[in-house]
Amino acid sequence: MTDMIRASGLVKRYKDVEALAGLDLTVPEGTVLALLGPNGAGKTTAVKCLTTLIKPDAGSAEIAGVDVLTNPAGARARMGLSGQYAAVDEHLTGYENLVMVGRLYHLGKAQAQARARELLERFDLTEAADRPSKTYSGGMRRRLDLAGALVAEPPVLILDEPTTGLDVRSRQQMWDVIRELVASGSTLLLTTQYLEEADRLADDILVIDHGRAIAQGTADELKARTGGERIEVVLADAEDREAAVRVLTEVAVDSVRVGDNGRELTAAVGGSPTGDLLRVLQGFERETVTVLDVGLRRPTLDDVFLALTGHAAEDREVNGSKGATTDETEKELSR
């Protein structure tokens, strides 16, 4: 399998901030790599280097075998970019936007028009095709922008935070669209701060922080790094804590974690989690521990991410709602 996207040793400095500190990545043909990281991790800067929008201070990158530094036009012809901020002309209609992009890809007028209609259809924008795009909703604009990236059917697609700021329904729609693209054989690099998004869409995940990779693997591999499954218990009464910890310790592979309020307990468990859960329940009955909730939970990417980037687990928000704010710091840095 050939690598369609390849970067090695990318470095980019803005004054005294090192936005990229030697980033390496490869994306084999037909696969999806998610670049996952918090605000200011260097995701957008990496995308800008790969898409020839900025020149890295050091390092090299290739798109479909074409060097982005020595042949930027050739690289641009082989990829489509859909950015964090929808790159559409607000005064042009959806149709006019796509025809313009097609003609700038040198498709020829008739072909650009046919392609524009086809994409509007595919992205469910036919009804809005003849309205100026400034009347579009955020989700519609993103879809139009993504359609713009697909006009020339490039083999490589780079999506910078494709769903940041979208509501749940629009995000779901976007995911469906992206999954279709992957199914049709595109090679895709996407950046995201939604852990759930990386889990759902990517074959491989590269976690970056402070401009460098801190971990890489499939979602399962990354999850394995924070240990196996865990039993979570919410006690009805904090006074039962000692007894509950005693029961959990019998099955736990590590020490039992106690939440701030003293009623939430977490225990990582080993090879037979359901058997362990059963033993815990029996133990609680024996010790007359009353619980509000007890359950088995697989670690989420959140856990991995937080373990790797060193944020306290207590700070984290519910899976999926994190990162609703835009990447302001990074935007400031790279503009």
């Binding site: 898409t51 641009r76 489509g80 970019l81 901020y85 929808a86 790159a87 607000e90 700038l104």
Partner: protein
């Protein structure tokens, strides 16, 4: 620049120009605002200051004034180029342009080209305003057409200066002030509103060699708005206004087109 890259600069530039023209159609209020000021100038000079300005010969001041207003209008109108470009640079669409395998100069070529359309519209409005206040074309149609073409060519050249200004300013709001610095001396220290003779010493020399003066002089001659028996100032520029103005236009494009393209690349590859 190779033939191929020139061809793609032109064809990509044409696509961008079409996009800009659509924008003029969709947001005509910008056009209205930019056109009101030259109309105000015609009325102001024709009816307010005009009475106090002596024009040599027996030519009516309004006939003297209107070709000058044409020259002033196209110079002021070039600000539109700066605005448009500064505005584009802040919009998301520029990211799309930058990620496409299109010519790097297409955004600039497109902008200056679409502004020719804008200048044609503004010259038509100014000509109608001129006719209303009493200006007339007294030479042949061919000469008159040459006059308008000269104005458009000169306007195109000034567009490139303003394109550069639009690229170096930090925001759209600054374009106005920055271009004012270029435009005011060029248009007011010229023969557009008052005769050359009314300036003294070195200022008069400046006026005689100022391309805005020669464009104005050329238009007056081509439209037949000069008075018989009044001598043309004795500088080569004023004696050969069409050639001299065209040389200026060529020189401006030769300097500012490469400068602007360079600036565009710089500001899009930080």
């Amino acid at each position: 620049m190779s033939t191929q890259s020139l061809a793609s600069a032109l064809s990509d530039g044409w696509v961008v120009a079409q996009r800009n023209v659509i924008k003029i159609k969709r947001v005509p209020d910008i056009l209205v605002f930019v056109l009101i000021s030259p109309i105000m100038f015609v009325l102001l000079f024709a009816y307010v200051f005009g009475g106090a300005i002596d024009v040599p010969g027996n030519v009516d001041y309004k006939e003297f004034l209107v070709p000058g207003i044409f020259a002033q209008t196209v110079v002021f109108g070039a600000t539109f180029t700066g605005y448009g470009l500064a505005d584009d640079m802040q919009k998301g669409i520029i990211d799309r342009f930058r990620s496409l395998p299109m010519s790097r100069s297409a955004v600039l070529v497109g902008r200056t080209t679409s502004d020719v359309v804008y200048n044609v519209i503004s010259l038509v409005i100014m000509a109608l305003t001129g006719l209303l206040v009493g200006w007339r074309i007294r030479e042949g149609i061919a000469d008159a057409l040459l006059g308008f073409v000269l104005l458009l060519v000169f306007a195109y050249a000034i567009s490139w200066i303003m394109a550069y200004v639009g690229l170096i300013v930090p925001s759209v709001e600054v374009v106005n002030n920055a271009s004012f610095v270029v435009i005011m001396p060029l248009t007011f220290v010229s023969n557009a509103f008052v005769p050359t003779e009314s300036f003294s010493g070195p200022l008069q020399t400046f006026v005689e060699w100022n391309p805005v003066s020669t464009v104005t002089q050329a238009c007056r001659e081509l439209f037949g708005n000069t008075a018989a028996g009044v001598p043309v100032p004795d500088s080569w520029a004023m004696q050969n206004p069409v050639v001299y103005s065209l040389l200026w236009a060529a020189a401006i494009v030769a300097v500012f087109a490469p400068l602007s393209v360079r600036q565009y690349r710089l500001s899009t590859s930080k």
